[in-house]
Symmetry: C2
């Protein structure tokens, strides 16, 4: 999970850009940079997000961060107080819950069904939550895409309750059956959405680059907190990446990887159907670099994952994504770094683990 096909990364193009930027470092490249991030890079991202993700945004709203984790941390520091109540998806992303819990917030798990976050259930549990954390494009971990009506419900709730929506759009560039879908932020006319994106999936995690799209009237508050936290992002990779995007390499890379990951996804799904049949249900395979399988017969997914790891098969137990009662057992299976040739053997290994339990 979270692994990319690093051997497919256009390293030659990238290292040429890195070398060029390094040799030409001038006074500004040595100094403390803009706390929001490099202006040219933010303009490139704003333009990309307007086109590819239907966001309503200008460069002035974009803050460069070291990835979605820092984006969450800064958002929590600005928007939440100890005791604030926060909706989190159930099941959901544990590293987001960690941020809210460390900020002293009270977490309210809101169930995910086939349309995404069950907004009515959320309102019933805690109408007055200060914020909701959601992954509408490709829910983590179940992979559901939030339906249009749920999106409107969620935006309505935020507006009427005076709450914030934190939209984590971590892997929406890879969508296999349709065009990328519009972001929640793009539907929002009331500036209630904080949008978080990352280059960890679409390029590589070691970059440590992501961004927050901030409602205009909150930019100053984000900037105050961010300045005190780390003075701003390192400038070097921002400049390299601005050129990587500007010169068309980024779009080309996404197109190539979409084909590659779709093949890997299809190989994985086909093999699961063939080998595991009715033992599991497959969820969330229409996008991203992972899918979920849920177990028909409950068994301890944690115990199976531990046994799998001893056989060098790395699968992530679904039950760890629950805050409250675990209603599904199963696994999150990443296919980003698994070749089509490796997949059949891995799935057979999983079958033998499931049948020998």
């Amino acid at each position: 999970m979270g692994q990319i096909a690093f051997d497919q990364f256009p390293l030659q193009v990238w290292s040429n850009l890195v070398t060029r930027h390094c040799r030409n470092m001038g006074a500004r490249s040595f100094a403390y940079g803009d706390h929001m991030g490099s202006k040219a890079f933010r303009e490139t991202i704003a333009s990309y997000l307007r086109t590819a993700r239907s966001l309503r945004c200008e460069a002035e709203q974009i803050m460069i961060v070291s990835g979605s984790q820092q984006a969450l941390e800064i958002s929590a520091r600005v928007l939440l107080d100890p005791g604030s109540r926060v909706w989190v998806e159930e099941p959901g992303y544990a590293l987001a819950r960690d941020v809210f819990a460390l900020a002293g917030c009270h977490l309210v798990p809101v169930p995910i069904d086939q349309e995404g976050l069950d907004v009515v259930a959320g309102i019933k549990r805690c109408r007055k939550a200060r914020a909701a954390f959601v992954t509408p494009s490709h829910q983590f971990p179940l992979g559901v895409t939030m339906s249009a009506s749920r999106r409107l419900q969620l935006l309505d709730w935020a507006q009427s309750a005076g709450s914030w929506i934190i939209e984590d759009d971590y892997d929406s560039e890879y969508r296999y059956e349709s065009l990328p879908i519009a972001s929640l932020q793009g539907l929002d006319v009331n500036a209630r959405v904080i949008y978080i994106g990352t280059f960890s999936k679409v390029l590589f995690p070691a970059l440590r680059l992501g961004y927050i799209v901030i409602p205009s009237d909150l930019v100053d508050r984000f900037l105050t907190i961010r300045g005190a936290m780390d003075l701003g992002p390192p400038s070097f990779y921002q400049e390299v990446l601005a050129d990587f995007i500007g010169e068309g390499h980024f779009a080309r890379h996404i197109r190539r990887m979409r084909v590659l990951y779709r093949e890997r996804r299809s190989a994985l799904v086909d093999n699961i159907r063939k080998e595991l049949g009715s033992m599991v249900d497959v969820l969330g395979d229409q996008a991203g670099m992972h899918l979920a399988v849920t177990l028909q017969n409950t068994g301890s997914d944690v115990r199976i994952a531990e046994r799998a790891a001893r056989q060098n098969l790395w699968i992530w137990p679904l039950s760890l994504s629950y805050l409250g009662e675990v209603s599904r057992q199963g696994f999150i299976l990443g296919f980003g770094s698994a070749t089509v040739g490796e997949i059949p053997r891995a799935v057979r290994k999983l079958r033998s683990l499931l049948t020998s339990k």
Copy 2:
């Protein structure tokens, strides 16, 4: 202030290392790295700190961060709670105060005299403070070096009060009249000191690399907070810098810069003596990349600095470094990026600003 002689940086050597590392990126260089930072880099730093700064430390205690600001932020999150009382130097470093204030702490200003922090005054004001923030090698902004007896007093207080000392050693590599002095951390036998260092001054700020040396029994707590904040530092520059240090370029650069900055420092002091004479006192010129001048006749240093900026002379008013009553007016003068040729004119400009007030 805070500017370096970037045109003296060995860019050719650096970009050769950058190119080499980029071309040879393997699987691990693309992935999420160690939350503490790269092991090889931390070992290099530990060995450097033991030799050059007399620290007692192992690589396991070193956490790589994006600079001293993030080091302060993480330390505050781990050690302090809203309402905690914290000693800060008066005058002192405003960006450190910001971190403690945003964490909801109560700041206790403790005066600086010619021996550094007045520990007895601190104890009188607030014996039970949870932590003390200090810059003992080259106090910011006055440049005093904390005396040996004050260091022992401070360590005694921390041990008996169960408090923490946060030692920010931001520019101790450049010391002009004597060998670098030992750190406070190296004197501490009770593991009460959190030591913070940065490459922003000794290399360049845009690197965004620094480190915390953590008492062994606190490492896990630092790691939990840090993981939730940003998952860890980017790996690329860590690997480059580990080689830059390991191949001897770092030591060579420091030796060259110490000579260069000493010349600039002497030119600045000589010109101040000649042009400003008894109008000012010079403080803290024995180390670092800045010194302080205090005004004999009080005038508003802020107003003078504003007028200076309009004439393209950038000087930092000392009064902004006070939390309470301003007992000295004057300026912090950075000489890192000012050549020996430029200094006389700049000092004459300052004189005309001071005499025309």
